[in-house]
């Protein structure tokens, strides 16, 4: 997996997604929630890019913005060489098959009033013109691929278990042979025993169809298992981006270090000796981020400069990037 596929499928350049805040009698615009603030990324064809961060750091927003479920405030997104940053709904529609999404809550993401075959079949109706028999054959094929019993085709989502529902969601995402799938915490809502099954299914499908994943999760061990490269987000910004093994072996950014130190070790002896980095305080509000480095309010290694100047996101060698003043002279 270490081989370098230097062919970027998705290119994100200075992505900003701000949600306006209105208040008062006349609902005046009084500020913005800067959910994603200047994020640049490249996702290579065939790889899995893990995106980690605490709840509310903006990782899901990045996922949704990448496939244009949100309007961008600023920045550019190119998928497969095509710039979709400001494409209109009609322009986007034909591109949808190439980019799909798997959602966190398999219950909420499936229309409760549609049967499995209707859910899986709807994108087929929208984007392809299949005869009824071809259509049903394709639905069965997709159900087979995700390991769903064909006899469930006419059931409603609520009749399934969480893992099965997520399989429906995956089958639905696969229906149009996408190249790129955003997996937005696809296993967070599942039992641990089911999580592995779903992750294995995703990996299997990736191999089979050469899929590219943006895998969003807050579960560092799951990311370690599935991702080729990992990006760490904090308060709307990427603080570190590195190949998986490098990141886990030698986290460069103080925030990554803190995150990783929070992952428990399976060996109790080892665990007892380990030093945990405890972060103080709360995450600042994304509508009012601190001056300088976003992490400066909680960083154990913060310096004066951190409170004044925002660090740039720069290469720190060997395909690694980070945004930290400490690393600037390295």
């Amino acid at each position: 997996m270490a081989e370098l596929r230097q062919n970027p499928l998705v290119e994100i350049e200075g992505l900003k997604v701000h949600f306006p805040i209105h208040a008062g009698v006349f609902r005046r615009h009084i500020g913005d929630v800067k959910a994603v603030d200047d994020v640049s990324l490249q996702i290579y064809e065939g790889e899995t890019l893990g995106l980690v961060g605490e709840s509310g750091c903006g990782k899901s927003t990045v996922g949704r913005a990448v496939i244009r479920l949100y309007e961008l405030t600023d920045g550019h997104i190119k998928i497969d060489g095509r710039d979709i940053s400001h494409a209109g709904a009609d322009e986007l529609r034909p591109m949808r098959p190439a980019m799909q999404m798997i959602f966190q809550d398999p219950q909420a993401s499936l229309n409760p009033r549609m049967t499995v075959s209707a859910i899986i079949g709807e994108p087929l109706d929208e984007h392809q013109s299949l005869s009824p028999s071809e259509r049903i054959a394709r639905i069965y094929e997709l159900m087979d691929q995700v390991g769903l019993n064909r006899s469930f085709a006419n059931r409603y989502p609520h009749e399934f278990s969480g893992g099965q529902r997520q399989r429906i969601g995956i089958a639905r995402a696969l229906a149009l042979n996408p190249k790129f799938i955003v997996c937005d915490e696809p296993i967070a809502a599942l039992d641990v025993s089911i999580q592995a099954q779903v992750v294995n299914l995703l990996e299997e499908l990736q191999k089979k169809f050469g899929l590219t994943y943006l895998f969003i999760s807050h579960d560092l061990s799951m990311i370690r298992h599935i991702a080729d490269r990992v990006a760490v987000m904090y308060l709307g910004k990427i603080v570190e981006l590195a190949p998986r093994d490098d990141l886990y072996a030698d986290p460069a950014h103080p925030y990554t270090q803190a995150l990783l130190s929070a992952v428990p070790e399976p060996d109790p002896e080892h665990e007892a000796k380990r030093q945990h980095i405890i972060l103080e305080g709360d995450v600042p509000s994304p509508s009012n981020p601190p001056q300088g480095c976003n992490f400066c309010t909680r960083c154990p290694k913060a310096m004066d400069i951190c409170h004044e100047i925002e660090p740039s996101f720069h290469a720190v060698g060997d395909g690694r990037y980070a945004a930290c003043h400490l690393l600037e002279d390295r």
Partner: protein
Amino acid sequence: MFNYTIRRSLLAVPTLLLISLIIFLLLDLAPSDPTANLPLTIPPEVREKIRQSLGLGDPIYIRYILWCKQFFINEPLNILEHIFGWQIGGDRLRVLSWQTRSPVVDLIVQRLPQTLWVVGLSYVLGIVIAVPIGVISAYRQYSWFDQIGTFISMVGFSVPTFFTGVLLIVIFSVWLGWFPSIYDTTHQVTDWSSFLVQVKQMIMPVSVLALFNAAQISRYMRASMLDNLNQDYVRTARAKGVRERIVVLVHVLRNSLIPVTTVIALGVPQVFGGAIITEQVFKVNGLGQLLIIAIQGGDVPVVQTLTFIFALLIVLFNLIADVLYGVLDPRIRYD
């Protein structure tokens, strides 16, 4: 579902009996006198005789049992006779109104057409107006359309119908002379021109009530749409590359209609209840006017029977709403 419906219906029987008793007791406790509205020139002895002839001399439990017998046995038998032309025979005393001295059920049957036409049509019209307004308001939340829609709903909701009704009469009957201010309940629709007359006389009461109903339902519709618009499955549908129109009309609207449908079903008994004030303003003289006149005149049998029928309809439409919910929402199953 079938068993559920049967079980609920059986449970409704004691409930309704209890309701009928409570209504009866409440009416008996209320200080009203059917002879109170008679001219003062009628002496008290005569009034007392009138009251005796109305059966007010009997103790309350006899009157209640008599009403139950008349309403639950005699009236249904009478309806059966009427529909199937049977002759069940027997001297059956029906529930008689004290004011008109005629069977209450006949009065209700006579009043139903105009109430259903005017109030029912306004309800249907209200729904037809409310659903698109609710959908657009929610889809374009905080837009100008939404703001104006919200304003109109608030107006429709908070300005009483006796005000809007009289306002319309003054404008369209008195100043412009377009529509009649008094509804003709005897008007028969036989051809195109008489149909136009009927439309003309219905326009004002129907629109006053439709505004009121639409205001209410559009709010529900909007809230329900907003709930669903932010659901993941809507995002899924968009991610699928489904056309926006289909996302809104198929995915969001259909799911949003579930709670609204039950609200609409629960509102149907009100249609039968008539619109007391609007009927009064436009002289539609439907069930609402029948009820109010009966209340004013201390006509206990009419009030009792009408109130009970409303209670019956409310219980019935609650059941219908529950069953509808089950039919519309596959997640809900009654065993």
